[in-house]
Symmetry: C2
Subunit: 355 residues, 2 copies
């Protein structure tokens, strides 16, 4: 068994999660939302593990957020009953699965266009209607209706469908754009009120926005994923310190071909190529002046020219990834530890659930 | 059953492989190596599927190339007996597994430094020695000894170990650097000859170098992976045309929030963030003037401002990924088809084998 081993005895590369740090991240976020009196709905994309969502729910979270039907099914199977899926649903096979899921959990989905609303409307009836939020593009530049008037228009379309219930508004915002989000939401809510449409949910989101959620006064809930583990991008955003990062990828120095170059046994299959605006591929905690300048699938090339400290061949190094969510998706299991002693392994149950 | 369905009826995103194109890619590469009289050792990293390696071997390939012990074990279990692992092996647990593997297949590994040679030497005995190639950095800037003299020095160290057999030289080259590779190899082979060390294998590699392998006269074998599927990076390298790309990721247009922005349901969990020098994330075959400007985990944001043709919400689009190998690693199964009709599904058996 792996439980009880030191994480330093595990084969590399391996993604490890510090239980203490994770528990603290869960608590601090939930405390914030309890304090401002707002529902918190964690996004499971970061961990994809039912046991971790259970910790988030036990701390006080209201339901969970999934991105795909296949993820939601994994969590429904694990006993979760309040699920929001934040991606437009299209295609006959997907709608069949959505209908089956709606029959067994309290489900909400999103729509940002008439084609999706029509497809949903064709699949659901009034005896078991589907709750639909209108996704709004408040500046994030991804999905979403472009104006509050468009939100009202789509809400009316949803309300006109027997099998659908308009349930509210949702955004995935640009970071640090709370004022703009509030302007959009407040205007849309006012238009909905005047039209006599109830809007029970106004859902704000994002880990970088988490502790500024109160600035969006119209919001009733917040969704976030990354905060549970944190990562280098969250550090850059000023949302956490290096000691608040629960996930490390442990790698071994496999070669030092030159004085200033080291090669790690963790490449894009362990760290992913997600740069998230960085120019290198993760933070080597014990060699902060070293830079992971390139990745192949199984190699990380480290430039040591800026680092007085130089790791040795065979040495194990800890890396905080740029983006923790995408790392979880690469490993079949995550290893949990307390003070470096393995406490448990968890299968990443919703890994690779792309549809 | 999925077999017999149209690929256009599969849920998206999905990675599909055109059997005809793949078979042609296998044949053309093998024909080239047969013609120049050189062994060809496909790298399984691109597909990670034993049934595909069997096709490569049936076409004439000599053995296979894996990158990690865990991959090699999958292929040994599937009956492959001639396996080269091209990554330095370190750590007690890994060496135990390497020893077990060497007992049941004809195994070769690499080393580029004394620490690795010493670790290997401690684990193997003369009754079942391990074949070791010296990895050379001929300009690729990853692993490898830096000079032919260093290659000779390490070869001598290997030769001095009772449990190890020096078996030759290997490089993963910088693209289009055949002259430099040949200079390095020729000099090293000459030094080995003078030292009386046999050097049965001189292994060149890379799909971008595939059809220039003859320019490295000293080489006895070539290793390549990507050529079996091809991708956008291979097109850019002039190694294939759009019709030679066997892999497509099929995605659905889920939203068109503005006139010039479309959102696909395939993000970095389907396409990966590997840019490989491109500035966008794959080629939309039917919309070549559109650009996938950013990826989230489940979203691709497409800029249509340069494209007269505009896809509709609900439309399915085909994407040739920048880098095919990393896409295979994200999917549990790949779907194969002939003229759009599904022929088989194959489990990506060595997916996620990181150690």
């Amino acid at each position: 068994m792996t439980v009880g081993l030191s994480i330093h005895d595990l084969m590399t590369p391996v993604a490890v999660i510090d239980e203490t740090v994770m528990a603290n991240n869960i608590r601090v976020a939930q405390d914030y939302f309890d304090r401002i009196g707002r529902n918190f709905r964690p996004h499971i994309k970061t961990h994809k593990i039912p046991a971790l969502a259970a910790l988030q729910q036990a701390a006080g979270a209201k339901g969970i957020n999934c991105q795909k039907i296949s993820e939601a099914e994994v969590f429904a199977d694990a006993g979760f009953t309040d699920i929001l899926i934040t991606f437009n649903m299209l295609g006959a096979a997907r709608l069949e699965r959505l209908k089956a899921l709606n029959a067994r959990v309290d489900l909400q989905v999103v729509a940002d266009n008439a084609v999706v609303v029509e497809a949903l409307a064709a699949g659901f009836q009034a005896d078991r209607p589907l709750k639909v939020l209108v996704e709004c593009d408040t500046g994030g530049g991804r999905n979403g209706v472009q104006t509050p008037a468009d939100a009202l228009h789509l809400a009316n379309s949803i309300d006109a469908c027997a099998g659908l219930v308009f349930h509210g508004l949702l955004t995935y915002p640009k970071p640090a754009s709370e004022a703009g989000v509030e302007t959009f939401f407040a205007e849309a809510v006012e238009m909905l009120n005047q039209a006599g449409l109830a809007c029970p949910v106004v859902s704000h989101g994002g880990s970088p926005s988490l502790f500024d959620s109160a600035l969006v006064a119209s919001a009733t809930e917040h969704r976030a994923g990354t905060y549970i583990f944190n990562d280098r991008a969250m550090m850059r955003a000023g949302m956490c310190d290096v000691d608040d990062c629960a996930m490390h990828v442990i790698a071994t120095v496999a070669s030092c071909p030159t004085e200033t170059r080291a090669i790690l046994d963790a490449g894009s299959k362990a760290l992913t190529s997600d740069l998230l605006g960085f120019t290198d591929h993760g933070l080597m905690v014990d060699y902060p002046d070293a830079s992971i300048v390139s990745l192949s699938e199984e190699h990380a090339v480290v430039d040591l020219s800026g680092s007085v400290a130089r790791p040795q061949i065979g040495e194990r190094v800890r890396i905080i990834p740029n983006h923790t969510c995408v790392v979880s998706n690469l490993f079949d299991k995550l290893v949990f530890h307390r003070n470096g002693v393995v406490t448990r392994m968890e299968t990443v149950a919703a890994r690779g659930k792309v549809v």
